[in-house]
Structures are given as structure tokens and as C-alpha cells.
């Protein structure tokens, strides 16, 4: 299993724990505007999508003999952009929902851009590996 896959999988496991911890906190009465959206995205982006990305990078058919997994640099960029973007959202969304300050609005815009770019890099890097033998 390549190093980047281990990072994706371990990060995704941490997000699963984090998302369910947040679900417990909400069930126990923690009520902060914006928290439900954070929970859904920690679960579906942090856990599910990140697990798919990590396993896909490892498991999809080889790109070629020289670069069997496509671009490692693109995979690392995907990892950091996705996680930084998601964590910024988790921080900024409740703060912005409580008090709509421009700083938090721009953090949310940056978070959206980072996660979108991560997704684009993942698709571009995976696409040529999805092929018939």
C-alpha cells in the first residue's frame, strides 16, 4: 500500500470518529447553527470520499509501467487541499453562522475553492487509469 493511500485511509478513519463524536454532541444537546452541515461533510467528504480516493489511488489499474499510479504529486496535492479545505469549513461554518463576519465568509470561499480543486485533481489523475485491460 503506497504512503499516500495510508495517509488518506488514516485521515478518513479520524474523520469517521470526529463525525460520530459530533453526532453524539448534537444528540446530547449541543446546538450551534451550521453544525449539521459540518457533520454531513465530515462524514461524506472526510470519511467516505477520502477513503475512496485513497483506495482508488492504490487499486485502480496502472497508468503505465513508469508511473503506475499516475502523478504522486497530484495525489498529495489532492490530500492536502481536501483536508485543509474541509477543516477550514468545519471551523468557519459555525463561526460564520453565529456571526456573519467577512473574515469567516472568505475562509468559507477559500475552503470551497480548495475542496473543489482537490476533487478536480483527483478526477484528472484517476481518469486515465479507468480503462479496459
Amino acid at each position: 500500500m503506497p504512503a499516500i493511500t495510508r495517509w488518506f485511509i488514516k485521515a478518513s478513519l479520524l474523520y469517521l470518529v470526529l463525525a460520530l463524536g459530533l453526532a453524539i454532541a448534537q444528540a446530547a444537546g449541543l446546538s450551534i447553527p451550521g453544525l449539521s452541515a459540518v457533520y454531513f461533510h465530515l462524514f461524506l467528504v472526510g470519511w467516505v470520499t477520502q477513503m475512496i480516493m485513497g483506495v482508488g489511488f492504490w487499486f485502480f489499474p496502472k497508468y503505465n509501467q513508469q508511473r503506475p499510479r499516475g502523478s504522486e504529486a497530484a495525489a498529495w496535492a489532492t490530500f492536502w487541499l481536501l483536508n485543509l479545505g474541509l477543516l477550514l469549513r468545519a471551523l468557519a461554518e459555525p463561526l460564520f453562522s453565529g456571526q456573519a463576519q467577512p473574515l469567516w465568509a472568505w475562509v468559507l470561499v477559500a475552503s470551497a475553492a480548495m475542496q473543489w480543486l482537490a476533487g478536480l485533481l483527483f478526477v484528472l489523475n484517476s481518469w486515465p487509469r479507468i480503462k479496459e485491460r
Binding site: T49, A112, R133
Partner: protein, 144 residues
């Protein structure tokens, strides 16, 4: 990777790209309101990510890696799988059209198409959720 899985996984990647684009627009619109009509993208974002991305990817990968049958067709009747894929995509896009065209009456047929796809998907994969030939040989040896 069989041709069916190439189509399923590539369609899943396209829906993922569209789904995250809608999501990014929605998040920006939440932070810096651009136009209220952009909220119509929310059901598309949810459905593209859940059905178009996750369900479709799982189907494409499962069709590829699940244990195969000994005889032909090794991956079961391909018509079932292709029909499931077609209905799933029709359902996702009809639901998207329902939201964009403000036609809630299209939601029921869209969901029906998706449910029919789920049935065909289950029928396509059901028999292949079985031990591999190696696994079967190991189980037989353990039983002896």
C-alpha cells in the same frame, strides 16, 4: 477492468466533479450571497454526490471485482447491469431537471427510476456475492 466498469466509474467521476462544483457554488453563495435561485442546486448537489457518485462508483467497482462465475457470462447477464446503469443516470438527471425546472411532479418518476435501478443492481450483483473458487476450496478442505 470490464467495459461496463469503465463506463460506471467514469460516469461516477463525472457526477463527482459536477456534484462538488454545485457544492462549491452553494458554499460560496452561503458566504457571499450571489443569487437566491442558486439554492435550487442543493438537491442536485445531494443527489449527484450520493447516487451519481457513491452508488454508481460502488456498482462499477463491485461489477469489476466481485467473484465471477465459472461459466459464461462470467459476470452474469450484462443486460441487467447496463439497464441498471441507464436507469440510475436517467433518474439522477430527471431529479436534477425537476429541481431546475421547478417541476416537483417529476420527482416521483425520477425516484421510481432510481429504485428500479437499485433492484436491477441488486439482481446483477446478488449471485456474485459468493466465495471465490479459492475460498470455496479452502472451506471444503476445512470441512473435511
Amino acid at each position: 477492468m470490464p467495459r461496463f466498469s469503465v463506463w460506471g466509474i467514469r460516469l461516477a467521476l463525472l457526477h463527482f466533479l459536477l456534484g462538488i462544483t454545485f457544492g462549491a457554488v452553494l458554499l460560496v453563495n452561503k458566504a457571499i450571497p450571489l443569487h437566491p435561485s442558486l439554492w435550487a442546486l442543493l438537491p442536485l448537489h445531494v443527489d449527484f454526490m450520493l447516487m451519481g457518485w457513491i452508488v454508481q462508483l460502488v456498482f462499477g467497482v463491485a461489477y469489476w471485482i466481485f467473484p465471477r462465475f465459472r461459466g459464461e457470462p462470467k459476470r452474469g447477464d450484462p443486460r441487467l447491469a447496463w439497464a441498471a446503469l441507464a436507469l440510475l443516470n436517467l433518474g439522477v438527471w430527471l431529479l436534477a431537471a425537476a429541481s431546475l425546472a421547478a417541476r416537483p411532479d417529476w420527482q416521483l418518476p425520477a425516484r421510481a427510476l432510481q429504485a428500479a435501478a437499485a433492484l436491477l443492481l441488486a439482481a446483477s450483483l446478488w449471485g456474485r456475492a459468493k466465495p471465490t473458487e479459492t475460498g470455496k476450496a479452502l472451506m471444503d478442505a476445512a470441512a473435511r
